[in-house]
Symmetry: C5
Subunit: 96 residues, 5 copies
């Protein structure tokens, strides 16, 4: 799974029926120090994430394994909000 | 999911039976400011998208989760037309 | 899906039983002007494509959604021969 | 599958129900000489791996084929701890 | 599918039950002239391949479509040994 930061959101009225009511957030991959390294991708939010939250993203068919993304055309899902990241024994990120 | 712009289309008469009747569009990934950054890929259109529309693309097995792509050899689908993109609190793209 | 050109083929006698009898072609991704940009990949042919044909490639699990690739260890399939490509209103490739 | 080294871990309290109780480790791809070459990714641990272990990572839907990741939004799993790697007839890595 | 050369192997005693008894080989992608271009990846061997053999690799869920990889956490499988590769009408590789 990718470590990413929520940076924005998408508004869309014309879309597949199965996506109606889902929150579409824009995320970008970050390092374990929360520095942005990835390009923007769109993910369905399932954990009520907000702007600047560091989150975990599951991609591919695994993105459809949450109750709110099952059978939808979703290839990226936010399934966890990160509290902290530790490399070796050192904390590199902590949610403020 | 990728944010992409519709740039063209494909004509094909010899093709798998399951694809007959589907609209094959050429899209390219864009930034949140609608600048092209990706190479051309072909996606099945399910939302009646047109040239220059900014759209969302689902890839992989998730591309087969719409009613018109189910059980077809489709690995990229246009499942939403983007009205607007917002990064932080700033609108970076709005459909004209 | 990728736009690719057929450039060669693979001969293999020792292979998984499910692949026996399938035609294994070597393809390379091309631009919408039919210039090669991708490295060689191997795809199962389902549309009787030949050398120099421009084709569409579906990858991943979607490559198993044709009648001749179902349940086989196939992650890339040729499922269409391209007649023409159009970018905006300009034809960039036409099959000769 | 990728060869990777365990470098850290993730703490998350708000997450999908199906992930509760799973150990989320941070891994980075390594060469066959155990030199880090990849960026951090998060994987579910199924073999009780620890920091500095060299492990094998399965990605995509294959990451859901272990008993503890079945039906979960997991796209990367640690499914083996590497004892040794051999290139040609030369051992390039041995677990200490 | 990728064209790759077998370059080594992996020994692992602590691993998922479903992988026990499978041969884990290290392969690297090659050009059609059998020059190495890819980084090492690990694949399950299903065709009794040996060091220096040029083989075909299926990735993703397609890697689980052989009788010996079904339902296992396998995302890369060796499913064919290459006898020869031909680009246009020229043989670029022949098994010695």
């Amino acid at each position: 799974m990718l470590i990413a930061r929520v940076v924005g959101d998408v508004v869309s009225t014309i879309k597949d029926d199965k996506i109606v009511g889902r929150k579409l957030l824009i995320v970008r991959e970050v390092t374990t120090e929360n520095e942005i390294v990835g390009k923007p991708i769109v993910a369905i939010d399932t954990v009520d994430a907000g702007i600047d939250d560091v989150v975990l993203i599951a991609q591919g068919s695994s993105a459809r394994q949450t109750s709110s993304t099952k059978d939808t055309p979703t290839d990226a899902v936010i399934f966890a909000i990160v509290d902290s990241l530790e490399i070796g024994r050192k904390v590199t990120f902590r949610k403020s």
